[in-house]
C-alpha cells in the first residue's frame, strides 16, 4: 500500500509549483469570494471565469501563455459587465448572461480554430478543466504577483466595499463612490478567477470562489474572520486535493491519475455541506438589502 503522503511528493518540481500556485489561488479566491457571496455576484464570478476561458482559448490559438489570455479576457469582461450594469439588481443576470453567451461562442470558435492548426484536441480540456501540474515555473511569479495585487487591493478596500455591498445608500451618503468601488472589485474578481482558471480550470474556478466563502459565512459572523476562514478552507481543499490527485495514480484505473480539479471541488463541497451541521448564522449586521441581493427567483 502507499501512504497518504507519497514519498517523493515534495521532491517533485511540478508538485511544489502546484502547491505554491494552489496556495495563491486559494487565498485570493477565498478573500475575494466572501464579497462575491455577500454582493450576490456568484453568477458574475462564474461568468467572468467562462469568459476568461475564451481568452485562454484565444491565447492557445495565438500560441501565448494561457494565463495572459485568461487575465486579459477576464478584465475586459469585468469592464463590459460594469458597463452593462452588473450593479443593477434588476436585469443584471440577463445582461451577464448575454455577455457570457457571446463569449462562450468565441471560446468555441477559438478552440475549433486551435484544433485545426495543431491537430490536437486536448486544449479544450485544459482550458476548461485546468491542470495545475503543468503550470510552467516561468508563469509562477506572474501568478503570485497578480494574486497579491488582487488580495491587497480587496483588503484595502474591504471596509468601503462591505459598506457599499450591504447598504449602497448609506455608503453613498457617506461620500463613497459606490460605482467606482464596485468596478475595482470586479477587476479584482476577474484577476482572482483568472488565477483559479489556470489552476483548476475555467468552469471549476467557481468552486474555489464561492464554496469556501459560503462555508465561512455560514460559520462566522464577522467579515474579517470570514475572509480568513474562506482563505483557510480554500487552502486546505487545494493542498489536500493536490496530494490526493498525486496519490490517485495508484487508484483504479491503475496508472491514470484522477484530476486535481475533481478533488478540490469535492473537498470544497464537503466543507460546505459540513457547515450545515452547525446552526446557520448570517453575516452581521443583517440589513434589509441582503435579502434583495438574492437572484429574484
Amino acid at each position: 500500500m502507499h501512504y497518504l503522503l507519497e514519498p517523493g511528493l515534495l521532491a517533485s518540481g511540478p508538485v511544489r509549483t502546484a502547491l505554491l500556485t494552489g496556495a495563491v489561488v486559494a487565498i485570493a479566491s477565498g478573500v475575494i469570494g466572501v464579497f462575491a457571496v455577500t454582493r450576490g455576484q456568484s453568477f458574475a464570478g462564474h461568468s467572468l471565469a467562462d469568459v476568461a476561458a475564451a481568452g485562454g482559448a484565444g491565447a492557445f490559438l495565438a500560441g501565448l501563455n494561457q494565463f495572459w489570455g485568461f487575465l486579459a479576457a477576464g478584465i475586459a469582461a469585468a469592464g463590459l459587465m460594469e458597463a452593462a450594469g452588473v450593479q443593477r439588481r434588476r436585469g443584471r443576470d440577463v445582461a451577464t448572461g448575454v455577455v457570457l453567451g457571446a463569449a462562450l461562442g468565441a471560446a468555441a470558435l477559438f478552440l475549433y480554430l486551435g484544433t485545426l492548426r495543431t491537430a490536437t484536441t486536448g486544449a479544450a480540456f485544459t482550458v476548461l478543466f485546468g491542470s495545475i501540474f503543468v503550470i510552467g515555473p516561468g508563469t509562477v511569479p506572474a501568478l503570485v504577483a497578480s494574486g497579491a495585487v488582487a488580495v491587497i487591493a480587496v483588503c484595502l478596500l474591504a471596509r468601503v466595499l462591505l459598506l457599499a455591498s450591504l447598504s449602497p445608500d448609506l455608503a453613498r451618503a457617506r461620500g463613497v463612490n459606490v460605482r467606482l468601488v464596485g468596478a475595482l472589485y470586479l477587476i479584482a474578481l476577474a484577476i482572482s478567477v483568472s488565477l483559479a482558471a489556470v489552476a483548476i480550470g475555467a468552469v471549476l474556478s467557481t468552486a474555489l470562489l464561492i464554496g469556501p466563502a459560503a462555508t465561512a459565512l455560514r460559520v462566522t459572523r464577522t467579515p474579517v474572520r470570514a475572509m480568513a476562514g474562506a482563505a483557510a478552507i480554500g487552502l486546505a481543499a487545494t493542498w489536500l486535493g493536490i496530494v490526493l490527485a498525486y496519490d490517485s495514480y495508484y487508484w483504479p484505473p491503475r496508472g491514470h491519475g484522477w484530476p486535481v480539479s475533481f478533488f478540490v471541488v469535492a473537498l470544497v463541497l464537503a466543507g460546505y455541506l459540513l457547515s450545515y451541521a452547525r446552526r446557520p448564522r448570517r453575516l452581521a449586521p443583517r440589513s434589509p438589502h441582503e435579502g434583495a441581493e438574492c437572484s429574484p427567483a
Partner: protein
C-alpha cells in the same frame, strides 16, 4: 444544404429552438439565468458518465439535469439561491471532469458535448428529440398561468394557493428535460445562449407575455437557422454563431426599446407593435443576409460530395437502430479515402483495404480485403464498430455528406459521424495491431 441528412439537422435544431425560446422566456422572466446556465452545463457531466458506463447518453443527461434541477430547488430554500446554484454546478462539472479523465474518453467527445454536434444528427435521433421537445413545450404551455403568476406576483400567487416553490421546482425540471434533449445537438454551453439571448431580446421589445414568448421563439428559430447556414458555409462551429447572434439580437432590441416599465395602454401597445415590427424586420433581414450570403453560391453537389476524398476521417460516433454511440478516439476507428481511389477502414480489431468509386450521393466500394484477426471480447463499442465497418463490404453503396470538417456516411443501416483528421490519407496502410 438541404440534402437528406441535413434535413435531420434542420428538424432537430428547429425543435430545440422552439423549446429553448419557450423555456428561456420564463428563465429570463423569473431571473433563473444562472440556473439556465447551470443545468445544461451540469448535464454534460451526465453525458460523460453515460459514456463511461457505456449506456445511452440521453439517460446520463436526463439523470444529471433533473438531479441538478431538484438539487437547486431543494437547497435553494435553505440558502442563497445563487450560491446553491453555483455549488450544484461545480459539483456536476467536477464529476464531469473526473468521468472524462477516468474513461480516457477523448477531448473530441468533451468538445462536442460542450459545443454541440448538430451536423450528423441521425434519423433515429430526431424522434426522441421531437418527443421530448413536445413534452417540454406542453409542460410549459399547461403551466403557463401559474408560471406567469409566480414570476410576476409571487405574493399574490401564494395567497391564491399557487405554491411558488413547487412551481419553481416544476419549472427547473422542465428546463432539465428540455436540456437533456438539446445538449447532444447544440451543446451544453450553447443551450444557454439559445435560452437567454432570444428571450432577453423579446422581453426588451414587449412587456406582454404571450407576444414576448412568441417573439422569443421566433428569434430563437431565426438564430438557429442563421447559425446552421453560416456554420455550414464557413465550417466554423455552430456555437460561435449562436452565441454571437443572441448577443446581436439583444443589443438590437435594446437600441429600439428600453425598459418596458411604464403602464400598459394604447400608446404603449402602439409602440409595442412598432418595436415588434422593427425586430421582425431585423430578423428577416438577418435571415435574408444569411440566405443571400450563404445561399447564393451554387450548391456544388459534386464538389461537396467529393469533399471526403483524399482525407482520413476519424469516426466519432456511430448511429445504429435509432441509437447514437460516441466512439472514443482510443478505439481508433477511421475511414481513409486516397485521392487515387484506394479505400481503407479501421475497426478496433481489423484493418480493411480496397477501392472506392465516387457516385452522385456518396461512394461505392469496389474490392475489399481485410486483416483477419478474431475478436472474442464483448465490449459493446468494439462490436458496434466492427459491425459498422463491415457494412463497407464488396460492392456496398454508401451515402456521404460533408459539412465542414464533418463527414456523415450511411451504409447498411449504420450512420457514421466522422471528423477530418487533417492529414491526407496515408497509404500504404498501417499494419493493424
Amino acid at each position: 444544404m438541404f440534402s437528406g441528412l441535413m434535413m435531420n439537422t434542420w428538424i432537430a435544431a428547429s425543435v430545440v429552438a422552439v423549446v429553448a425560446g419557450m423555456t428561456g422566456f420564463f428563465a429570463v422572466l423569473r431571473g433563473s439565468t444562472f440556473a439556465a446556465h447551470a443545468i445544461p452545463n451540469g448535464a454534460f457531466a451526465g453525458a460523460a458518465g453515460a459514456g463511461l458506463l457505456g449506456i445511452n447518453v440521453l439517460w446520463g443527461l436526463a439523470v444529471f439535469a433533473v438531479g441538478g434541477a431538484l438539487g437547486i430547488g431543494a437547497l435553494g430554500r435553505k440558502a442563497r439561491h445563487d450560491v446553491v446554484t453555483a455549488l450544484t454546478l461545480v459539483l456536476m462539472l467536477g464529476l464531469g471532469a473526473l468521468f472524462v479523465s477516468v474513461s480516457s474518453q477523448y477531448a473530441e467527445e468533451t468538445y462536442s458535448l460542450l459545443f454541440g454536434e448538430v451536423f450528423g444528427v441521425s434519423k433515429g435521433e430526431v424522434l426522441p428529440i421531437a418527443v421530448l421537445g413536445a413534452a417540454a413545450a406542453a409542460a410549459i404551455g399547461l403551466a403557463f398561468r401559474p408560471l406567469m403568476l409566480t414570476s410576476a406576483l409571487p405574493e399574490v400567487a401564494d395567497a391564491g394557493g399557487v405554491s411558488t416553490r413547487r412551481t419553481e421546482v416544476y419549472f427547473l425540471v422542465v428546463m432539465a428535460l428540455a436540456t437533456s434533449m438539446t445538449v447532444p445537438v447544440v451543446g451544453a454551453l450553447l443551450m444557454f445562449s439559445l435560452m437567454i439571448g432570444p428571450a432577453a431580446a423579446a422581453r426588451a421589445v414587449t412587456a406582454r407575455p404571450g407576444v414576448a414568448m412568441a417573439l422569443s421563439v421566433a428569434i430563437a428559430l431565426a438564430t438557429v437557422w442563421l447559425s446552421i447556414a453560416l456554420s455550414y458555409r464557413t465550417n466554423w462551429p455552430l456555437g460561435f454563431f449562436v452565441g454571437v447572434a443572441g448577443a446581436v439580437f439583444y443589443l438590437a432590441a435594446h437600441v429600439r426599446g428600453l425598459s418596458p416599465a411604464e403602464p400598459p395602454g394604447t400608446v404603449r401597445r402602439h409602440r409595442d407593435m412598432k418595436r415588434i415590427a422593427a425586430v421582425a424586420l431585423l430578423v428577416l433581414a438577418a435571415a435574408g443576409c444569411g440566405g443571400a450570403g450563404g445561399g447564393a453560391p451554387p450548391e456544388p453537389a459534386p464538389t461537396a460530395q467529393a469533399g471526403f476524398a483524399g482525407y482520413e476521417w476519424s469516426v466519432v460516433a456511430i448511429g445504429h437502430d435509432g441509437k447514437r454511440t460516441p466512439i472514443p478516439a482510443r478505439y481508433s476507428v477511421y475511414l481513409q479515402f486516397a485521392p487515387d481511389g484506394r479505400f481503407g477502414a479501421n475497426d478496433p480489431v481489423n484493418y480493411h483495404f480496397g477501392s472506392y468509386r465516387r457516385t452522385g450521393d456518396g461512394f461505392t466500394i469496389g474490392d475489399i480485403a481485410s486483416s483477419l484477426v478474431g475478436y472474442a471480447g464483448a465490449d459493446p463499442v468494439t462490436l458496434l464498430a466492427i459491425g459498422a465497418i463491415s457494412a463497407f463490404g464488396k460492392g456496398a453503396h454508401a451515402t456521404a455528406t460533408v459539412a465542414g470538417d464533418r463527414l456523415t456516411v450511411t451504409a447498411g443501416g449504420y450512420t457514421l459521424t466522422c471528423r477530418r483528421d487533417g492529414a491526407q490519407a496515408d497509404f500504404p496502410p498501417p499494419t493493424p495491431t
